[in-house]
């Protein structure tokens, strides 16, 4: 398959990734059946994570690696977890994307990587205080389109 990211875009992303702080591990769950975009998503993430040494990629199967998918609470393919990594330790910060992050959503992926790398949500003190006292988990599902 030809490269999804051309040389010009790769160079731009390389510049943006100069702002990375700590390592980021992208965990991708794919499926062999009923997943039109799994192959493209895998290739896209391989190309993105190859741009900077602080980025890593692990690929699993949603069904054969079901325990791990449950651990990361991933139930779709392609399902992408953008996690923090220190050495071998991977910390799930609750940042996920389901589907292929293409078009406008490609910048969403790049920004998510930068945010996780900085280990800072950028939220206000008021929001942080509220989240700290939560007793039940919150799941936000943000529906988007690539166009």
């Amino acid at each position: 398959m030809p490269q999804l990211l051309n040389d010009q875009i790769t160079a731009q992303i390389k510049d943006v990734f100069a702002g990375l702080k700590s390592p980021v591990q992208i965990i991708l769950f794919t499926a062999k059946a009923n997943c039109d975009y799994c192959d493209d998503t895998r290739q896209l993430l391989e190309e993105v994570t190859a741009i900077d040494a602080r980025l890593g990629l692990s690929v699993y199967d949603l069904h054969t690696d079901a325990d791990l998918a449950r651990h990361y609470r991933v139930d779709k393919a392609p399902g992408i977890v953008i996690a923090a990594r220190e050495g071998e330790q991977i910390t799930d910060l609750g940042v996920q994307y389901s589907g292929i992050p293409s078009g406008h959503e490609f910048s969403t992926l790049v920004n998510a990587i930068l945010m996780v790398s900085g280990r800072d949500s950028g939220l206000s003190p008021q929001t942080r205080t509220y989240i700290q006292q939560l007793e039940k988990p919150i799941h936000l599902q943000v529906f988007v389109t690539p166009t």
Partner: protein
Amino acid sequence: MVRGEGIEAMEFPELSERYNVSGVPQTTINDGHGTVVGAVPEQALLSEIMRAVKK
């Protein structure tokens, strides 16, 4: 405690239909206990989350 999931709406039409997604971005909180349409300021999202978790 908080999980944020971006979802490509066209790729998961059943889920988009379940939550009546007609415009994007649309944010569904805890399986439909709350909904925010559009890209709103942080404070507005927080208010809707607070309302949703009280249900």
